[in-house]
């Protein structure tokens, strides 16, 4: 079972919402579509679901062309940000809805719903109505409802964005755990890079209707290929080859060509007090576990991070250094 997307194009009138999208989703794989709002990630998900028409390209599931299969017959599960539960049905009825539609006998249905309620830790809430459940509980019901029909593919459209931080954290791990146990290939849309890094086997980083980079969370974070990815996932300093040459000569000399930029993570820059240095701290923001420093080098400013309890303050003269293997050259 594998989803295969080739050369997908989507227009809204003259506006190109998706251009030349190619993507594979393997068995048991958890894929995150990550990007800023308007990048086309939700459009892509809706096309996969069969809810949105597209202009060109092919979609295949396990070798079978999907273009003649309506959303109703694809056998996918979907979960939206807005919970989207039936307000007039109990949690158990909501979860059993797909089974009822498929005319599964009541006894079998009840047993299955029971199992799913346990899976999402809602055993004692089965007779509650949606308005009697918290946001997190409602979203658990929505997920269980999508899983009940044993979907060939689970589609999650920003399922956690409406929840508060605590609940979001718990549910992230829970969704991932359930997905691993049931081994359902899953595609999740999110604009939250932290969420994508925590949950995904594979991140698809999108910008302006194009896929910028596909890779494991580690690859995306430590080996971004474009400036957009380096900037969207985590924080980066960008230096032109000339600037890199003059500020950090040992790294600057490795520039592949003049079009690339050196992307440097703040945690890769170490800062130490040095009264005779040129560089100066212009801003120090205390973030709890680290202190984020803006360092003025004259030619440019860099963001750096300091884990030391050493009291670095605005105005301090500092020297900076980076490891020899730090930084990545990215397309501008």
């Amino acid at each position: 079972m594998q989803l295969k997307i080739r050369n997908l194009e989507k227009y809204y009138g003259q506006f190109q919402a998706l251009s030349d999208v190619n993507l594979d989703v393997g068995d048991e794989e958890f894929v995150c579509l990550l990007g800023p709002s308007g990048c086309g990630k939700t459009t892509l998900l809706r096309i996969i679901a069969g809810l949105e028409p597209y202009n060109a390209g092919t979609l295949e599931l396990a070798g079978k062309d999907l273009s003649s299969v309506g959303a109703q017959n694809r056998g996918f599960g979907i979960v939206f940000q807005s919970y989207s539960l039936f307000q007039h049905m109990t949690a158990a009825e909501n979860i059993g809805y797909g089974l009822r539609i498929r005319k599964i006998p009541p006894a079998e249905r009840t047993a299955k719903v029971q199992k799913l309620m346990e899976l999402v830790h809602l055993q004692s809430f089965s007779q509650r109505y949606p308005y009697q459940l918290s946001g997190g509980q409602q979203q658990r019901v929505a997920i269980a409802r999508a899983l009940a029909v044993e979907p060939a593919l689970l589609l999650l459209d920003e399922p956690l964005s409406a929840l508060d931080a605590r609940v979001r954290n718990d549910l992230r791990l829970e969704i991932r755990d359930v997905q691993r146990r049931l081994r359902i290939p899953t595609i999740m849309v999110t604009h939250d890079q932290e969420e994508a890094l925590i949950m995904a086997d594979k991140i698809v980083c999108m910008n302006a209707g194009k896929i910028e980079q596909i890779g494991t969370p580690k690859e995306i974070y430590s080996r971004p290929r474009t400036r957009f990815v380096a900037d969207f996932v985590g924080i980066s300093n960008f230096l032109t080859p000339q600037l890199a040459q003059s500020v950090l000569p040992e790294l600057g000399s490795q520039a592949p060509d003049a079009q690339h930029l050196l992307a440097l993570r703040p945690e890769d820059i170490s800062v130490s007090i040095s009264d005779d240095a040129q560089a100066r701290i212009t801003q120090a923001s205390f973030l709890g576990n680290v202190t984020r420093l803006t360092v003025d080098l004259g030619e440019t400013t860099l963001l750096a991070e300091s884990h030391h309890s050493q009291a670095l303050q605005t105005g301090d003269r500092v020297a900076i250094s980076v490891a020899a293997d730090a930084g990545v050259w990215v397309q501008a």
């Binding site: 003259q14 028409p53 309506g70 039936f86």
Partner: protein, 568 residues
């Protein structure tokens, strides 16, 4: 710029057409049916009659097409006077309703005056009965044999312009108050707080925030008052006296002189001011940007003696007047011989003239048909309209709200021209309750449609998509997603159409036949035949039916919008 990317930034010149989504045959059939049945209905029972009335206005006495009828009408010595009369009467009524309506809406929405519910109830009264009941009540009080005229010896000259203006104002005022109150409800208290922090006085806040925000509501209210009164037939017939207006003129031409083509011309003349008002309101609506923000905090009512006392006098005074007039009608219906022998009797309810209570039952049947057909058609229309592209959806929307600009009298006349024909299929409908029901439905099509549109907006689109993805078909989506949310709206639209059909007079006055009449017409006929107290009794019966319908609606709404109780 993404250097090294093979993708250009300009879209290719030719965009291949999007492959349409796969839609199962059942869904397709359902969708097409629910789109085209209401649209064909609008075509056959609204556009066609309307086109016919335009065409007939150009058919001259010699059978050729031309402006002959228009020239004839305009050269009738009195017609310009009649047009002026209509404009003056509706203009005055509109002015009174908007000013008084604003004061009362403000009193209800923004003050903490006591017993505001009395005013709300009083404002419901005129909606429960045919419009001419106001005129009837006024005559019982101030007419030649009126209680007050007799008691004081004053000759109040109630027949004519002022009687018409007062009775029409009573009829239109509740609608004006509802619209203006809705616009006052939208304001955000934070706007007022911000202005107060900047040092604005209460008066400045009123002028700079309240009035601008209510402007659109005031305009809508003016539009509604103008259109319902310029075409109202009942009051004009009962209390108009020698003050002739277009509504009575068109009736005299058609029913009195069987001059259908001249009637058509006057119908077109009636259409002009309404369509102008309609157009002005639409243009204003497009420019209108509401000051309301999402999640607006409602403005809390407060107490301010200098403002509340004058407002209260206006509000309670109006309420008293409305109640007094309707109460007088109810009282008169039990009186032996108004106003000379005031002992109570039930004799007035023994109605035998004008078909007795037959027309009341016809009204019930007509109203039930109009409500059932109307609710189903409007539901189909809004459900299918959502799937249309933006341009098409807008076209359907416009078509669906045009009927509000067509006066009932003109629609009724158009129906006579279209369906009172020998043989043929349209002719078979003439003289049936179904045709009257359809006429009433299309007369109130727009209001029902707008209510439905508001209702369907609350249907969660994503839940429908979830049902599709789970494998549900269109019918299951309708049953489990659309209906549970739309049920209160369907109930409201059903009873709205029912209640309006029970009391409307202006459209149906042309459609009744010697064998088929409705309740509102009976009231008019009884009054014209000199049986004023029996007319009152008949009105009381209509009001009772509408009140029962209103009660049923409240109960049904309470049942369908009750939240399911969780098992313990």
């Amino acid at each position: 710029m993404t250097v090294g990317s093979t993708q250009g930034h300009l879209p290719p010149r030719k965009i291949s057409r999007a492959k349409p989504l796969v839609i199962p045959p059942l869904a397709r059939t359902l969708y097409l049916t629910s789109l085209w049945v209401p649209l064909i209905g609008l075509g056959l029972f609204f556009l066609y009659p309307l086109a016919l009335i335009v065409q007939r206005s150009f058919v001259q006495r010699d059978g050729n097409l031309g402006f002959g009828n228009y020239i004839d009408v305009l050269s009738m010595g009195h017609i310009l006077g009649v047009v002026r009369n209509s404009l003056v009467m509706s203009g005055l009524t509109t002015l009174i309703c908007v000013l008084l309506g604003f004061a009362i809406a403000y009193l209800l929405q923004r003050t903490r005056a006591r017993l505001r519910w009395v005013i709300s109830i009083a404002l419901l009264l005129p909606l429960l009965a045919p419009s001419l009941v106001q005129a009837l009540g006024l005559i019982f009080l101030f007419g030649r044999n009126g209680l007050i005229s007799q008691a004081t010896g004053w000759n109040l000259q109630i027949y004519g312009l002022w009687g018409l203006v007062i009775s029409n104002s009573m009829y239109a005022l509740p609608q004006a108050v509802m619209i203006i109150q809705a616009s006052l409800r939208q304001s955000d208290t934070r706007q007022y707080d911000a202005a107060m922090m900047l040092g604005a006085t209460p008066w400045r806040r009123f002028v700079d925030i309240t009035l601008p925000n209510a402007r659109f509501g005031l305009l809508s209210a003016a539009f509604v008052c103008f259109t319902v009164t310029i075409t109202d037939f009942g009051n004009a017939a009962v209390i108009g006296g020698n003050y002739r207006v277009l509504a009575t003129e068109i009736y005299a031409q058609v029913v009195g002189q069987m001059n259908f083509n001249m009637g058509a011309v006057i119908g077109i003349l009636l259409l002009i001011p309404t369509l102008m008002a309609f157009y002005i309101e639409k243009v204003a609506a497009q420019r209108h940007t509401s000051g309301a923000t999402e999640g607006a905090m409602p403005v809390a009512p407060d107490r301010r003696i200098l403002r509340d006392i004058p407002l209260g006098i206006l509000g309670y005074g109006t309420a008293f007047f409305l109640i007094a007039v309707v109460a007088t009608v109810v009282y008169a219906s039990f009186v032996t011989l108004w106003p000379y022998r005031l002992d109570l009797t039930l004799r007035n309810y023994n109605i035998t003239a004008q078909g007795g209570y037959g027309p009341l039952w016809v009204s019930l049947i007509v109203s039930t048909q109009a409500a059932a057909i109307g609710t189903l058609m409007l539901f189909m229309l809004v459900v299918s309209q959502r799937r249309l592209g933006r341009g098409m959806a807008k076209a359907v929307y416009l078509l669906a709200i045009v009927p509000v600009g067509v006066p009932g009298l003109v629609l009724g006349l158009a129906y006579v021209l279209s369906f009172n024909v020998a043989g043929a299929v349209p002719g078979m409908l003439y003289g049936t309750t179904l045709l009257i029901a359809l006429c009433n439905f299309y007369h109130y099509h727009s209001q029902g449609f707008l209510t439905m549109v508001t209702g369907i907006r609350a249907v969660p689109a994503q839940l429908e998509e979830t049902v599709t993805c789970i494998g549900g078909n269109t019918l299951q989506g309708l049953r489990d997603v659309v209906l549970p949310v739309m049920l209160p709206t369907l109930v409201a639209v059903f009873f709205f159409l029912f209640m309006r059909s029970m009391v409307t007079l202006s459209a149906v006055i042309f459609l009744i036949t010697p064998r088929l009449s409705v309740g509102a017409v009976s009231v008019l006929r009884l009054d014209q035949a000199g049986f004023a107290t029996q007319a009152a009794a008949f009105s009381v019966c209509i009001m009772a039916v509408v009140l029962i319908a209103l009660g049923l609606m409240k109960i049904t709404l309470a049942v369908v919008s009750r939240r399911p109780q969780a098992a313990k």
